[in-house]
């Protein structure tokens, strides 16, 4: 299974490394054609306003919509989650593409001063703890009935899945704990087999 990491901007190199450590073959992609031909795609953290403009300018939105139609597995963190949501407050309504039936609020915890680390409860293969790195993070406000909540910070959902689409408000790629990459790889393999 080859994982394509969208490399327009942000911490794509950390995502590439995170998935390599989990045993995946990784390719950085930024052209619409390469995105269209992805077997599975990761959308990294970064600035959503920057992503929005670059995606419109370089025809990437249509390529992503095709992935959604074809149900190609996609994992988005932070900025990537905003893109996967149905809608996001504080964001251009065109930016969120509705892979996941959730609404989110951008920069919901505040500025960098309010960025934080905390243990979250992860519900993958039973319940366990995972170190959540939240950087100017979004918050998930509403979760549709077909969305599975896979991790929580207190009572707040922070990792959600709907079919082959996975989204996190935090940054697993900034830790050495590869369980979330391994989970997405399993999800992607199941979806494409």
């Amino acid at each position: 299974m080859k994982i394509s990491v969208l490399a327009l901007q942000g911490d794509f190199a950390e995502h590439a490394e995170y998935f390599r450590k989990a045993g995946a073959e990784v390719e950085l992609v930024k052209s619409a054609d390469k995105i269209r031909n992805s077997e599975a795609l990761v959308i990294p953290g970064g600035e959503s306003t920057t992503y929005n403009r670059l995606m419109k300018r370089f025809g990437i939105i249509d390529a992503l919509k095709e992935l959604k139609e074809k149900k190609v597995p996609v994992f988005g963190t932070c900025n990537g989650l905003i893109l996967l949501a149905r809608s996001a407050t504080g964001e251009d309504p065109d930016y969120s593409l509705g892979f996941l039936d959730i609404t989110v609020s951008r920069n919901a915890y505040g500025r960098q001063r309010e960025s934080f680390e905390a243990d979250i409860s992860l519900h993958i293969d039973g319940e366990s703890s995972f170190r959540g790195i939240f950087i100017r993070a979004p918050k998930i406000l509403e979760v549709g009935s077909s969305v599975e909540v896979l991790a929580k910070l207190g009572d707040e959902p922070v990792l959600v899945r709907q079919g082959p689409f996975l989204g996190a408000t935090f940054h697993p790629e900034l830790t050495d704990d590869t369980r979330i990459a391994e989970y997405f790889l399993r999800l992607a393999e199941k979806a494409t087999s």
């Binding site: 901007q9 942000g10 190199a13 929005n52 300018r57 900025n79 920069n107 934080f116 680390e117």
Partner: protein, 295 residues
């Protein structure tokens, strides 16, 4: 539930999120909006851009908090602001305002000729300039979460940024060729802590993101710095001193994202109007250079 703020991982984490992007100098909320709409990953809130600081002289200090707050209100992207080298009270003020990143910058007049700020003591991240590996590693030891080349700010001339980026990369490559016992002497030569020197020798890169700054004026300049190994680009005077700032800003954002695609670079470079006029750095007096500030 225990919540930690201001950890080094969170500071470097924000720097990682800015990679592949353009950080633009702005002096008004209107300019900040133009920068955000053009796709800047962050703005640097200033009273004067470096080209004007260079022209007008006098003591250059932290911007008026009023200007910084107005810029913070105008945009949703991270806002950075500059403090004088060693001026930790200016940094305390910026931390209180809630800016997202502090640039301890040689563009402002230094407040201390021996000591930089102890950046570990702050909850928000710092970026510092460097001309060579020793300088970069000393700043990281003091707690910098991002390094940028100094270049020669306010000149619109990329030559010094190229020199600094090439030198840092070359010194990293040289460290990688050293035997383990030689790294102690290397640490002494570089004037940097052994542990950080050893980390760089083992990993072949800085332990924090390495950005380019100082004299970048065109999309081609920005892409040049990226191809030389910069992970993102600061553009100071180059945007709002050009004849069509909106267009220049968008073109530089595109050029940084697609820095390795000459077809995109050729397209975005067309018809941009006039870039900032610029200065021949070799014609400047040693005392006019900003890059020699800091140590």
């Amino acid at each position: 539930m225990e919540i930690l703020r201001g950890t080094f991982r969170l500071k470097v984490g924000l720097a990682e999120m800015l990679k592949g992007g353009v950080i633009m100098d702005v002096t008004t909320p209107e300019q900040a909006k133009i920068a955000e709409e053009a796709g800047a990953v962050a703005v640097m809130a200033l009273e004067r851009v470096p080209a004007d600081i260079r022209k007008e002289g006098g003591v250059a200090r932290m911007a008026d908090p009023e200007i910084i707050l107005k810029i913070m209100e105008a945009v949703t992207i991270p806002v950075m602001a500059k403090v004088r080298i060693g001026h930790f009270v200016e940094a305390q003020i910026l931390e209180q305002l809630g800016v997202d990143f502090i640039d301890e910058s040689e563009v402002l007049t230094p407040a201390d000729e021996e000591n930089h700020i102890d950046k570990h003591g702050f909850s928000i991240p710092f970026v510092c300039g460097a001309r060579n590996l020793g300088e970069a590693l000393r700043r990281i030891a003091e707690g910098a979460a991002m390094i940028r080349t100094k270049g020669e700010a306010g000149t619109g001339n990329v030559v010094e940024a190229v020199r600094h980026m090439r030198l840092i990369q070359k010194e990293i490559r040289e460290l990688q060729t050293r035997r383990p016992e030689e790294l102690y002497a290397e640490a002494k030569r570089l004037g940097a802590p052994y542990e950080i020197v050893k980390w760089v020798a083992e990993h072949g890169r800085l332990p924090v993101p390495n950005f380019a700054a100082g004299g970048i004026a065109t999309p081609a300049d920005a892409a040049l710095m990226m191809q030389l190994g910069a992970e993102a680009v600061f553009v100071g005077s180059g945007i709002f001193k050009s004849s069509d700032p909106e267009r220049m800003a968008r073109a530089i954002v595109d050029a940084v994202a697609y820095y390795d695609d000459p077809a995109v670079l050729a397209e975005v470079s067309r018809g941009l109007g006039e870039a900032m006029r610029g200065v021949d750095v070799s014609k400047l007096d040693e005392k006019e250079l900003l890059q020699v500030r800091g140590w």
